[in-house]
Symmetry: C2
Subunit: 120 residues, 2 copies
């Protein structure tokens, strides 16, 4: 992922060669914190099981403005291309994980996109 | 940003040295597409005006599952630390931009977090 900050001359253009999926989760209140941890660990393990999933990151909300709309966790997954996401969607490991986590989610947002960045 | 995929042995740990802000926007229908473009360009220019803002990326939703909840744009901003976000929040260039874009947003979600990743 190419990231260039404060270039002298800049244009906006597509970052070549990968697509990203961002997900926001709000877990149900009844799901125990330890089970949330276990689910997240299993989620991270998909990077070992699904060839087209290249990187996996997560974080817990620390926004101080109260603009999180109840979402507590953010996940960033990267794939080489849109076909990589399509392959992930139907991969048995993903489908199995999806089935396990879904009952614990109160709400979810998913956005797929090709990042646009600065380049000199 | 350190990103390691499919390590042989892995642990989850905090990615050192930066915090990230993810924002999802839904622009109002009445805001003209050309004006959305201009606002986004001005947004990207904050990386040139605010010292603590290190990188800026954006993308338009291409999710095929219809889980975007109406959000159309995603933005990823990185800062060196939480103090960097605090400095950004009160920076005159950010405040001015915030005032300009707010009337055009139907909804927004903001999540700040320290990414956790895989490391071998």
């Amino acid at each position: 992922m190419e990231e260039v900050s404060r270039p002298k001359e800049k244009t906006m253009e597509e970052v070549k060669g990968f697509v990203r999926r961002v997900l926001l989760f709000k877990f149900k209140a009844k799901t125990a914190p330890d089970h949330v941890k276990k689910l997240i660990k299993d989620y991270s393990n998909l990077v070992n099981l699904v060839e087209s999933l290249k990187t996996w990151h997560m974080g817990k909300d620390a926004n101080i403005e109260n603009l999180h709309e109840g979402f507590t966790h953010v996940f960033e997954l990267t794939f080489e291309d849109a076909e990589g996401i399509a392959a992930y969607m139907v991969h048995p490991a993903h489908l199995k994980f999806h089935e396990r986590i879904s009952p614990h989610l109160e709400k979810i947002v998913v956005i797929d996109y090709k990042p646009t960045s600065f380049h000199t």
